[in-house]
């Protein structure tokens, strides 16, 4: 599961987060992470 | 939020008329004149433009940074 940092934009894997209690960006320490959109192509009916 | 593509009642295409309508209203022209000149005759279509509020511009400020 990949997450993007809100400040530096770096991508962090969920595995790396598990090491420390509390989530923080591995690069800059910012605590707001956004989940990256799945690479699966989403098929939507235009209704 | 954003101007609907078509009139809710009759289905006439109105989305493409919004930007010109908005610009001319901002310049001070009376709405009835602008609507007439854009060729929007039925009041079902007229209210689509007349009563639309572009909330998306406000919402944009709160969407997630990429």
């Amino acid at each position: 599961m990949k997450y993007r940092c809100g400040r530096c934009g770096g991508i962090i894997d969920s595995k790396d987060l598990e090491i420390l209690p509390g989530i923080r960006c591995s690069y800059c320490g910012y605590r707001v992470l956004y989940k990256v959109r799945s690479p699966t192509i989403k098929r939507v009916k235009a209704i | 939020m954003i101007i609907p593509v078509r009139c809710f009642t009759c289905g006439a295409l109105i989305g493409d008329k919004w930007e010109e309508f908005k610009k001319r209203i901002a310049q001070g022209e009376p709405p009835s004149k602008v609507l007439d000149e854009l060729g929007i005759k039925r009041y079902c279509c007229r209210r689509m433009l007349l009563s639309h509020i572009d909330l998306i511009y406000d919402v944009l400020n709160f969407t997630r940074p990429s």
């Binding site: 959109r37 192509i41 989403k42 098929r43 939507v44 009916k45 235009a46 209704i47 | 939020m1 954003i2 101007i3 593509v5 078509r6 009139c7 009759c10 289905g11 006439a12 295409l13 989305g15 493409d16 919004w18 930007e19 039925r42 998306i56 511009y57 919402v59 944009l60 400020n61 969407t63 997630r64 940074p65 990429s66």
Partner: protein
């Protein structure tokens, strides 16, 4: 049967028809709305969307955009047994949208859609699809196919398809006092009085509201309509020219009747 054209362009068609039975005109009206096929986006493959609008909302908007239609080169999916329109070249057209708002707020318009078939493009390039803030991106593939209004109204070739009775206004000149109350009451300004002459303007503009009948103090006015005569009006979305819409509607109606005739003949053999 008589047909006279009151207004005609690719977008509008208004005709005065006489001696046509009402069920026939109504059948034409309904066939135009529900059975004449048009091209419209039906499936959207999202690669990326960081805009303020959900994928489904954007897909909904894309579906509603009227597309110029070529009825001769494409077939309905049922005709060729197509199960996945993204794989059937004779059924679907692919339109690609790939926009990123690099430095400013950017409005994504229908004109940004790149179609693989230059004949099948949006009727207007100025329809806003979504608005992107700085850094936001949208990347998608939209597939358009032929469909009918009865499946989803986005496939209807018209926004308006109506008919009304042809009005008939009779003024009993023995009772008329030329008071002018009818002139004031009429919302469509049909009446005019000059001295002791009452004139009726364009009767086609009458909306049969009977305000004149009520306003007349001597009950000199009678509002009714010509039997089997109608004013027929259609307004195209731009997907097909108005004349083509009517031609196709009659073709479809005729086909249905022929099919029914065939079945009845077979069943009664």
């Amino acid at each position: 049967m008589e047909v006279s054209i009151l207004e005609y362009s690719d977008k509008y068609l208004k005709a005065l028809v006489r001696n046509v039975p009402l069920p026939l005109i109504n059948a034409l009206r309904r066939t135009i709305i529900a059975e004449v096929p048009t091209m419209a986006i039906d499936e959207v493959l999202f690669i990326d969307n960081t805009s303020a609008l959900y994928d489904e909302i954007i897909a909904h908007r894309l579906g509603l955009i009227p597309l110029k239609t070529d009825l001769d080169r494409y077939k309905m999916p049922e005709e060729v047994g197509c199960k996945d329109i993204t794989q059937c070249r004779e059924v679907a057209v692919r339109l690609i949208l790939d926009v990123e708002a690099k430095d400013d707020i950017r409005v994504v318009y229908s004109g940004d859609l790149k179609s693989e078939d230059p004949e099948i493009t949006p009727v207007s390039d100025k329809i806003p699809i979504v608005i992107l803030s700085k850094g936001q991106k949208i990347a998608l593939e939209a597939y358009a196919r032929l469909g009918r209004g009865r499946e989803h109204i986005k496939w209807s070739p018209v926004s308006v398809s109506v008919f009304k009775y042809l009005p008939k206004i009779e003024v009993n000149l023995e009772l008329c006092t030329y008071c002018g109350e009818c002139v004031k009451a009429c919302p469509r300004k049909i009446f005019s009085i000059e001295g002791d002459n009452i004139k009726i303007g364009n009767i086609i503009n009458c909306i049969l509201c009977r305000a004149c009948e009520e306003a007349c103090p001597t009950k000199a006015i009678t509002v009714s309509w010509e039997s089997d005569s109608f004013v027929f009006y259609i307004e195209s979305t731009g997907a097909l020219p108005s004349k083509r819409i009517i031609v196709e509607a009659f073709k479809i109606l005729k086909n249905k009747l022929l099919q029914l005739q065939k079945k009845v003949m077979e069943a009664t053999k």
